[in-house]
Symmetry: C3
Subunit: 346 residues, 3 copies
């Protein structure tokens, strides 16, 4: 399955239009500026067009939009949308390596741990009492799975993931290395001259098909649960505080922080390093620009940017207005001169 393909077979595989030498044999995909002659160069962003002329690639996988950027003679497969095509090719050339499910002899399993069929548990993993793991899961080396945690089928935890007690993880979830699920929320009340901790008794619930990057931290709920919806993808070093709820199919870029009890809809996009304060609501399909700081509700479908985050078109207007100040100053100077002259003439 992972062997070389003719360019014609590639066109078939990705449903693309073949131009040029269909018999050419291709053994992998590469960026246009790094491709060797046996590779198909991937060109889907205008920024990389400049590398096309000097590319050593034997052929190109190119989006319709960028086809004309290629040398006329270049053999190519042209597709409407380049990324699904790339995905299909990569799945061919880099099939997931097989694995033989093993419970490593150093794994520590607590009382009443239930493991489904075909579960793999890595060296030094610790599964505390009452943990249940679905069929076909892989628990990486050094993971510590807290008491009563449940994990759905085919989920993969990379090495060094920690879940606190009673965390709920769905099926087909991927959690990358160093991510912590279900730690206590940041909840205190000031009494007797100190910040007294409010017990954090909710859970952290990760629904099916979610992927979470490395070194993220998603806290358990204080009262009630923290919840990440089906199919939502979260990048590295993200912080979701207690009782945050994110709907399905949202995208949360790296280093985003969401404060307590905030509710985020479905299909929302949060740009890198964006922040959202506590107890706000972000509607379905909203987009929050990179580094934006959301301090109040965002309606469904709105795009916001800046701090405090406002509709992006307002930010552009504001920016333009500030840019007008030097010209305003000049007009005022002229007016002052005119008025002075008029006064003297009068």
């Amino acid at each position: 399955m992972a062997g070389p393909l003719s360019l014609e077979a590639i066109a078939d595989l990705v449903g693309g239009r073949l131009v040029g030498e269909g018999a050419l044999i291709i053994d992998g995909v590469a960026p246009v500026d790094e491709a060797e002659p046996s590779r198909i160069g991937f060109l889907a962003a205008r920024r990389y067009v400049k590398y096309a002329a000097d590319s050593q690639a034997g052929a190109f996988l190119v989006s319709t939009e960028l086809e004309t950027a290629l040398p006329d003679a270049a053999s190519r497969v042209v597709v409407e949308d380049a990324y699904p095509a790339l995905r299909a090719l990569l799945e061919h050339f880099h099939p997931e390596p097989g694995w033989h499910p093993t419970i490593h002899p150093t794994a520590v399993l607590g009382r009443e741990v239930e493991l489904g069929a075909g579960v793999d548990v890595g060296p030094y993993a610790v599964l505390e009492s009452g943990v249940r793991v679905g069929d076909g899961c892989r628990i990486g080396a050094h993971c510590v799975i807290g008491q009563g945690t449940t994990i759905g089928a085919r989920t993969r935890l990379h090495p060094h993931v920690v879940t606190y007690h009673d965390t709920v993880i769905g099926a087909d979830v991927v959690v990358h290395s160093g991510t912590r699920l279900g730690a206590d929320g940041f909840g205190y009340t000031f009494m007797d001259g100190r910040h007294a901790k409010i017990p954090q008794v909710g859970r952290c619930v990760i629904e099916d098909g979610v992927e979470i990057g490395a070194n993220a931290a998603i806290d358990r709920g204080s009262l009630g649960d923290t919840r990440v919806g089906t199919g939502t993808k979260i990048d590295n070093l993200v912080h979701l505080a207690h009782n945050v709820r994110i709907g399905a199919m949202s995208l949360v870029a790296a280093m985003v922080g969401v404060a307590g009890s905030t509710r985020i809809g479905k299909g929302v996009w949060l740009g890198g390093q964006a922040g959202v304060r506590n107890q706000v609501e972000i509607g379905d399909g909203a987009r929050v620009a990179v580094q934006a700081g959301v301090t109040r509700d965002v309606p469904a479908g709105e795009t916001v940017s800046g701090f405090p985050a406002r509709p992006h078109r307002e930010a552009l207007v504001k920016e333009a207005n500030v840019g007008r100040i030097p010209r305003l100053l000049e007009r005022i100077r002229r007016l002052e001169a005119d008025v002075k002259r008029l006064g003297e003439e009068g």
Copy 2:
């Protein structure tokens, strides 16, 4: 102790005013919008008032301020300050589970490690030589405690905490999973064409009663120590650089970054994703807004926001001024027309 309580007993426990059915039996606390009839719904934020009318909660724990938002017939316990009351109820319904102190047989203890009475050490924890652990501490699975580290009584390190050599942790401290204490500061000097590392020989000192969230990083001092004061609480993914000093009872929200040698007073609040540059001083009781970037000293009691951070009232004035630009433009246009007319008339 964790059993159901009558509403009357709840009013007694939290020192609140009982309205309605005192004999009602309650078995837990829940958010108003998720509460079942056997639960007392917690209502302390105006934002959740909208869920009160349809709530299934058998009764409510409500702040004086929001009492009128409840249906007239709702049984309730009314308190001035809802969070201490919530804390008391949660401590009743969710008592800390007991634990039997054990040194897990897989723990690796170096030479001259001293463990106090009733210490629990989890699977695969590594305590290097000379580590001293106070009475009643819990060292989680996979923690690596560097040479010469000392830990005060009743401190809890959750799984996967790492301390570098000679770290000092006080009593009653909680450190969440994945936090690193005492790593080298970011100290280099450019010589011979490269960034040469300056040895980082100070310590990382965490005083009594501090809590630190997950995946934080608090570096050791370069010369002298990095120090977090008594009772200060720090959220997830916070970075404190070498030689930072924070006073007692401060609150540091998630993803805050503080650069080298900065000194922060007592009772300071740093909002989420705020940053503070190196070598500045922030006075007691100051407040730094979320995402603010502090580049110069902040006096005691001041509230600052924005980048570069300025007193918040100045930011509001500036914002208002920018908002005036379109109106200024209009007034200038009218003036120009008037002056033109006057010139023609004259």
Copy 3:
């Protein structure tokens, strides 16, 4: 080598000018405000001048620029550049402790692991199949080194570092605790109503002499590699996305985030919490201010700040312009009064 030194010997060691009592015996370096009489106080920042008069330090290591801030009678060693001198002194007083290379019996070594001479592997470290480790490396406790990873000579991985498969780490690299190298990039394409994962098949390559702080995350490439250049230093909690390339001798401060495929030159400085969007290019020697958000290319040597990041001098001009608004308003009011008067007089 670590013993006390006379002040004269210190002057010799750092190539400085001796003023005062050369026979004074010094046993360590300390900050001016914490130094005891047997210590040399380090004074290199104007901010600490205020502590000089009351310092208990027996003598001072001071930069030429700040010499006059010292009491006249203070014994001192004066140097042009204080940090290389500090480095030399610290290397004398705090020599790197020796270590006896050991493969801890709990380390798990996969098939065909190759270890060079004098390699140290800590407790519970896991080296998967095909890992190659160069001479004199130290692999900390609990590290998990993914299949096929190669590590150059004298590199040190602190406890709890994870590398994914096929990561490449050069010689003389230092990686601090909790850092993850080579996790999957955040690459999806929306198809069939969900975010479908694009296989991430590139590598994460860390060149010689790099140092990376704690809890950072540097993803593998999607197509092609992510690469950090020789001698570049990276602080805590930094995120580098798939296919980011950073040149040699750059400095990346804490909490910086760089999105996918961005290319950063040599000798670049990225300030704390700065962000860079995907697919931009930052030229050699550029400087990105703390918290700046880079959204388009930055030319070599430029300094940018703010969001969206612009040349810093433009930001200053803009700031000054906004500051002029109240004065503009006043001038408009006067003009309006004048014009009204002129109209009435006319």
